[in-house]
């Protein structure tokens, strides 16, 4: 398949289209709205299911195979908040606190971007490494912690924020799902596959419709915040994505695996990070980080980023 064909394949997937539908609904001022409980239920389901599937795969993978990618991912988790912070200070000329807040988002990871990349890679015909969800869990936490350290050098209730991140629901569901999957293995998977695996992409489609509505309601803020933020929110993912693909290549991933690791590295959090930042850095401006993460970087990765990381991975790996 050539690049245009791949882009088309990505753009016409039900998930990307559902995201667009959600945005359109909000822009048309439709009264469509997901109940809070439905959004929460979907996110609980998705996070646990990702973890669980990863855990089952992990139970079939020798530890030695996972070790190197895990270390490399931790490395990414330490590097990404630093580059995000520096770029926010220099290019956006933000203060320490706002830069730290942005860095926490671009230092962590978006589970939905991860999933979209996984789906894309599978649809293209790759078979990404099964233990990738483990790496999502590894990438989620350290970035936030490093970023908060950067912002609060010398002061504040960092412990509270640290605990907030570690016991936050996205980490508990991902890591808990991983453990349950690893412990119950294939035997457990067999029983719950028709719930946690088969309907997964449909549930994700609905979730993305809701995300589209949320992202669209951030567009207004975007205009206030300015064009530089849009650049930040697209160039940084490209940079991180390229590094992620390269790291994936180095640790011996398949083309599919490198694509997904690239997308993970390029993604920015919008569940764990906002909650942690709001508690630890209340002085930071939420419009800034929510607009960048949700209204710029997420759609960018979903629509253009993923095919680009795939092209990169193919170029390096093929």
């Amino acid at each position: 398949m050539d690049a245009l064909e791949l882009l088309r394949l990505n753009l016409l997937s039900p998930m990307v289209l559902a995201f667009a539908l959600g945005m359109a609904a909000r822009l048309l001022r439709s009264d469509l709205a997901f109940p809070e409980a439905m959004y929460t239920a979907l996110s609980i389901y998705l996070l646990f299911a990702i973890g669980f599937k990863g855990g089952v795969e992990l139970s079939k993978t020798p530890l030695t195979i996972v070790l190197l990618p895990a270390l490399a991912t931790l490395g990414l988790g330490l590097f990404r908040p630093l580059s995000s912070y520096v770029l926010a200070r220099r290019f956006l000329a933000l203060g320490r606190v706002d830069a730290g807040a942005l860095a926490a988002h671009y230092g962590s990871v978006s589970a939905v971007t991860f999933l979209a990349a996984l789906t894309f890679a599978q649809a293209v015909g790759h078979r990404p490494e099964g233990f990738l969800p483990t790496l999502v869990a590894l990438l989620e936490v350290p970035g936030i912690v490093v970023a908060l350290l950067l912002a609060k050098r010398g002061g504040g209730n960092l412990g509270e924020a640290f605990q907030e991140v570690l016991t936050g629901k996205s980490v508990v569901l991902l890591v808990g799902g991983l453990l349950i999957g690893a412990l119950s293995g294939e035997a457990g998977m067999e029983r719950v596959k028709p719930f946690f695996v088969d309907p997964f992409y449909g549930a994700l489609t609905l979730f993305l419709m809701d995300l589209g509505m949320v992202a669209a309601s951030r567009f207004a803020t975007l205009r206030q915040v300015g064009f530089r933020l849009v650049l930040y929110g697209t160039l940084l993912p490209l940079f991180h994505g390229a590094i992620g693909v390269y790291v994936g290549h180095l640790v011996g991933f398949s083309v599919g695996g490198a694509t997904v690791l690239g997308a993970m590295a390029a993604s920015s959090s919008y569940i764990a990070a906002p909650a942690a930042v709001r508690i630890a850095l209340p002085e930071a401006n939420p419009s800034l980080y929510l607009a960048a993460s949700l209204a710029v970087t997420f759609p960018f990765n979903l629509v253009l980023g993923i095919p680009i990381y795939h092209a990169l991975a193919q170029w390096m790996g093929g």
Binding site: A33, E36, S217, A275, R278, I279, P282, E283
Partner: protein, 100 residues
């Protein structure tokens, strides 16, 4: 019937503050509270059902001096950075001595 005049303090705040606010008001002397989920709009824009989480509307019935302590603490520690409003009114409470 014994109706005791007390103060009803109502706080509308970002839901992320729930745990902290509950700890604060208890520490300052509140014996109980009631919370309902809410949404709203104010100087910091719309706080909808979306994403950043919604608001909570917290009510606590307290004696006047506790009310003032709570409001002072809010003004000092929460108003600068968070979306919060707070107000107080007069109510008459059945078995009000429980809340003093």
């Amino acid at each position: 019937m014994d109706l005791v005049p007390l103060k009803l303090v109502t706080i509308v705040a970002e839901s992320i503050l729930e745990k902290k606010l509950v700890e604060e008001i208890k520490r300052l002397g509140a014996k109980g509270y009631t919370i309902v989920p809410a949404r709203g709009e104010g100087s910091r824009g719309m706080r909808s059902l979306d994403w950043e989480g919604q608001n909570i509307r917290l009510e606590t019935i307290v004696p006047e001096e506790v009310a003032l302590r709570i409001l002072a603490r809010l003004q000092e520690a929460y108003f600068p950075h968070y979306a919060v409003i707070a107000y107080v009114e007069n109510v008459w409470v059945v078995r009000g001595e429980k809340y003093i």
